[in-house]
Symmetry: C2
Subunit: 340 residues, 2 copies
DNA sequence: CTGAAAGCGCTTACAG
DNA sequence: CTGAAAGCGCTTACAG
């Protein structure tokens, strides 16, 4: 590692090589063209090329305006914290916006109880934090409390909390509007008895979708049951049990595509005509499901755009000293398929 | 941002608050217990808690052994560079290993021609680089050349290249062995005419799978055709055209599950019995496909473990000055389903 | 337009 | 076991 250190050219090496001062090199590297003559500039650029000079971020950050990296924390029970397509898209959008602005993304996944002892809490190495938090409501609130206690700007995805007085911005999709769209669609088609299937874990996004559904239907759905949405067979058993007790509904709405797909296949296995006898609609389109037969009617999530907008909001916050808006909500698009 | 700076406690603040020198604070923070008395330690820890002190990574890295972050570069045509489940799992495994060791992951996605101008090339802010590169062979080679030219340790995923004399470690799964497993399985079941369906883009992993398949079958498959693996209908049309010209094969092997799923659904749509008349086998299990009916016979990729192993190899390289091994290859597991 | 000095917040190397 | 000094590689603030 001494080898690494010794091999690395510094700003002084470049200055010597180009026959200018270190300041001039710095000005060239930072594109402060007004301070550097064309000739000096050319010589510096040649020297940089020759020596393979790369500016050391640590040194720049120390003297300059702080770290040029944004942290993205995904709080998840599972170590496979990017397995969810929604999260993966969101992270990609965020990373791309930051990279384009010459910022960096520092990514980490943590279990709900791992935040307190994490390096994130003990070290200052990012200029701001974005967070996507799952888990029980109290655990989520605790995570948010800790993050906001850091005294750094925070962007929180897919939550609705009080932002008054906090250096906090909410970035989310219009789950309520999406739910309403589903409700209106089903109502228009004459569906009267609608079964809503929700993940067991309560979650603002899900609650908003359900509230929207009720608004669109013009009243609460016939029933709303909770299922283990990660367990394909459990979803199917729950649906089977409900049908055994109450008969076939006119429509099943899955609060996400995993649930809706499982429900769909259960109905098809029973020989139920979809959408003839029962309509099935999902939420948050995943490409893998789009390919299944029949194609699920669902809503397209702007996950990638959520990441982009979060990045932009954070960069402007860092520049301007405050979030311009503290609640950013993007629309979800209705995606007609063959099941609803 | 002055507000941020002013509000942040430094090591000196903690030292003053605890009535010790800055050195002692540093020793406590770094767990150099042999240099600090219990009493001093307790006072420092209380002061840290009271002031909400967090060590500034930039300052530490500047004087210390360099940046404590590893870069992960995903070179991809698409901005949605985490859309592939394989990649997402791999990144999660890598991030978790690094975080556990108090290292950080710096993530970026770039188009093949974007690397040259990227901040990555102009800035030194990570101690080593991991890379997952897609695209045409020449473009991939160029990316690798640039990365290795940085004078930093590089871990390359899913490639087989010469490592002699390079500060480079290959981390991959045993695609050849997986292919052989499929071939042996199909041969044992008596399949004689096997159609292999490959992505259009050539790619070492795919070639290895195909070579393994041939070895397992005891000879080349009946035919190998290239398809746009991201285009569901294109895959189906290609299969339809092949069958129109050559009749039904005994088995179809898709070089990945996307292809195999599309092929499977095409066969079922035609009323072909699977696996009675035609067997279908995939590669690289994705959870979304696992839920389809009938369940695809495929191979489980150790993507998450690849990320973990890469992280471990990199950390040891940074510690020890060289990669202990330059070629790490993990097995893939056969995952029996209902289609083959 | 160019440069010499000071300093960012830590850790290294050394003295007590 | 504890601390004063020097320095990591940049940028800021200022003088010419």
């Amino acid at each position: 590692m001494n080898a690494d250190r010794q091999g690395r050219a510094t700003i002084k090496d470049v200055a010597r090589e180009a026959g200018v001062s270190a300041m001039t090199v710095s000005n060239v590297v930072n594109n402060k063209t007004q301070f550097v003559g064309a000739a000096a500039r050319a010589r510096v650029e040649a020297a940089i090329e020759r020596l393979g000079y790369r500016r050391q971020a640590s040194a720049r950050n120390l003297r300059g305006a702080g770290p040029r990296s944004i942290g993205m924390v995904i709080v998840d029970e599972s170590p496979a914290f990017l397995a969810n397509f929604f999260t993966a898209q969101l992270v990609a959008g965020l990373a791309n916006v930051l990279n384009r602005a010459d910022w960096t993304l520092t990514l980490s996944g943590l279990p709900p109880d791992g935040l307190a002892a994490s390096a994130l809490m003990r070290t200052y190495d990012v200029g701001g934090l974005c967070a996507m938090v799952s888990g029980a409501p109290e655990a989520r609130r605790e995570v948010l409390r800790r993050l906001c206690g850091l005294g750094q700007p925070v962007v929180l995805f897919q939550e609705v909390v009080e932002t008054e007085g906090l250096d906090l911005c909410l970035v989310r999709q219009d789950d309520e509007g999406g739910g309403r769209r589903v409700g209106e669609h089903l109502a228009r088609l004459g569906a009267r008895s609608v079964l809503a299937m929700l993940p067991r874990q309560s979650w603002p996004a899900i609650e908003n979708r359900l509230a929207g559904l009720a608004a669109g239907l013009g009243g609460a759905p016939r029933a709303a049951i909770s299922v283990d949405h990660d367990d394909f067979s459990a979803v199917q058993e729950a649906l089977g049990a409900w049908i055994a007790a109450h008969g076939l509904p006119d429509a099943v709405w899955g609060a996400n595509d995993q649930i809706a797909s499982a429900a769909l296949l259960h109905l098809l296995d029973r020989g139920v005509a979809v959408p003839g006898r029962v309509r099935v609609v999902g939420f948050n389109d995943f490409p893998a499901h789009r390919h299944a037969r029949p194609r699920l009617t669902t809503l397209a999530s702007p996950a990638y755009e959520l990441g982009e907008r979060a990045g932009e909001a954070m960069l402007r916050r860092l520049e301007g000293g405050r979030f311009e808006t503290q609640d950013l909500c993007l629309p979800v698009a209705f995606l007609p398929g063959e099941t609803g």
